[in-house]
Amino acid sequence: MANSTTAKVKVDPRDAKLSMAHFFVAFSALALGGLMGLLQTLVRSGKWELPWGIDYYQILTVHGVLMGLVLTTFFIMGFQYAAVSRTTGGHSNAARRTGWIGFWIMLVGTLMAATMVLLKEASVLYTFYAPLKAHWIFYLGLTFVIVGSWIDGAAQIMTYAKWRKNNPGQPSPLLSFMAVINTVMWIIATLGVAATVLFQLLPWSLGLVDTVDVLVSRTLFWYFGHPLVYFWLLPAYMCWYAIIPKIIGGKIFSDSLARLSFILFLLFSIPVGFHHQLTEPGIDPAWKFLQVILTFMVIIPSLMTAFSLFATFERYGRSKGATGLFGWFKVLPWGDARFTVPFIGMASFIPAGAGGIINASNQMDQVVHNTIWVTGHFHLTAATSVVLTFFGISYWLVPHLTGRKLTKAMNKLGIIQAWVWFIGMAFMSGAMHFQGLLGGPRRSAFSTYGGSKQAAEWIPYQIAQAVGGTILFIGIILVIIIFINLAFFAPKGEEEFPVAVAENLEEKAPMVFENWKLWLGIAAALILFAYTIPFIDIIQNAPPGSKGFQTWSKW
């Protein structure tokens, strides 16, 4: 019964409009950010220089902000808003209004920050580490983006809460549950970055205070920075767990285990920020190691995810009569972009995850910290696993929302796009990993370092990155073509919003998963456990504060 009705369920057109608004911003950011990415790789090859006094660190700031903050946040909010609408029966007028307010505040904030970057008043990269001091409008813009995202996310929470009230004793729809977990994690995490921007950087850039405590600011930033990457990843996991099985014609391996893994992400993604600060002087090694242990805990739900996905695929393949150890692999619907594109993303998560475990391994971080290896790593996680999944989602979600159809031609182009992306990334990210192991630093324009022998060995890898970057840029052009086609030109029709059901429907998800008091309580306890003592230490032993610096080139 579930199947025949859900196939036709549509996202309310009024909700669709808000989701699409998010996607227009996200894909504009992708187009512009992609161009910056290409230019970066060209500069780093040493064969080309930026014209008109534009400097490398300005475009790197644009790339990081657009790709890391704008593309991701807008896409995720738009997708989750649609997923909640689809699985709960639609947002109320109040939730919809809330969502729009959040969207506009985020957009205004983005434009404020972007203006300051273009004026070279904020070439501080997307991590804006003090004591580099950007224009106050940049920080105010960031504040708007964060606060806007809270309001935007509140719309999803309102609708989820309403559904729970109307369906007492029922586990909420899986996709809504997952969306709300991610939104709640985002809200808890952004408290840290909001605190440093609002209480430290904004007053300091306005001249209200003279100095800033650098380590406090960095610690608050990284309290946010790690869950940030899980905020990117979880929507991809939503697609892998709860949408892909439907696309291939299979079932969710286990609804309960999917929920459990999301709960584990909520609990363990946050109290781990020190693993980005392992080589910093002001944090006690014992506390660093404690957070390394907590970081390893968050690997467990990903191990569960790997198993569930393989199991979904194998069960489906065997139901189609596949035999042997890996026979099921061949019968998967490789001709369907909605499957193949995210699948390439999933496959990329294998090297991506392996690299992440290395980065987190306490002193082993000294081998790779702030080398271009790290850039290679997150171009696999974020810029391949996550964005290919986002592309795969858009290929049915955009036509679903605009009342069009994914045509055969666009489906084909989508698959080509994903392979182009994969090949480009293999060059770029692969070369970054190897160059990083040789010591090549990240966030650096082309340099021969005074004719150093070691630096000379890095240059061939930088040329390989430019080759990869060029191929990737072709990928950007293709995905923009597909997006515009699906948004404006594809033939009218009905594209399905696939939502999978679980293999074992008798097994209801335990209601304890929806016990927010419990999970928020444990999350808070873990955060307090991991951070209270070291944070007090950091404040008590603080050196005199730092005044601001503007060491980047100005117009």
């Binding site: 490398y56 580099l132 650098v214 306490n362 702030n370 650096s444």
Partner: protein
């Protein structure tokens, strides 16, 4: 909530591997002395040049300590002081560094010496320079327009 037997096997293996990784790095860090750099010493960022040992950057032989030399660096946008040093191979050296302005990196390429320099903090790392060769020091944290020009050189010699 039901879990498939194979999933239990997989998670047992996976979690055991994680425990082994953690044990290896934990023992190496806390019993063999390979902790990541965490010196916990602070300094007044405006008085770096007057504060010991940063009043005399460079390589200094020391007596009566667990290490043979102290190698002192002062970083500021966009250079390190000193720009070049020679270290005898096999010397056990404590590298001590700080910054006079923004955050910088201090990475000796091809080695495990890789630490953040943050205003107000002293960063240290002790190791034995046991292979000869030229080692480039690069700034690996963005510090401004000349970030990619910021470097220094260590020559480990016979």
């Amino acid at each position: 909530m039901h879990m498939h037997k194979f999933e239990k096997i997989w998670l047992t293996f996976g979690i055991s591997a994680l425990v082994v990784f953690l044990t290896v790095v934990g023992v190496s860090a806390f019993y063999l002395g390979n902790k990541p750099p965490s010196c916990l010493t602070t300094i007044n960022v405006d008085k770096v040049d007057q504060t010991k040992p940063f009043d005399k950057p460079g390589l200094h032989k020391v007596e009566g300590k667990d290490w043979d030399y102290e190698l002192v660096y002062v970083a500021a946008a966009f250079s390190y002081n000193p720009l070049k040093v020679e270290v005898p191979v096999g010397a056990k050296v404590k590298v001590i560094a700080t910054t006079k302005d923004v955050v910088h990196g201090f990475e000796v390429a091809g080695t495990n010496i890789n630490m953040m320099l943050e205003p107000g903090y002293v960063s240290e790392y002790t190791t034995t320079f046991d292979k000869t060769g030229e080692y480039l020091i690069v700034c690996n944290e963005y510090c401004g327009a000349g970030h990619h020009l910021m470097s220094s050189m260590i020559e480990v010699v016979k």
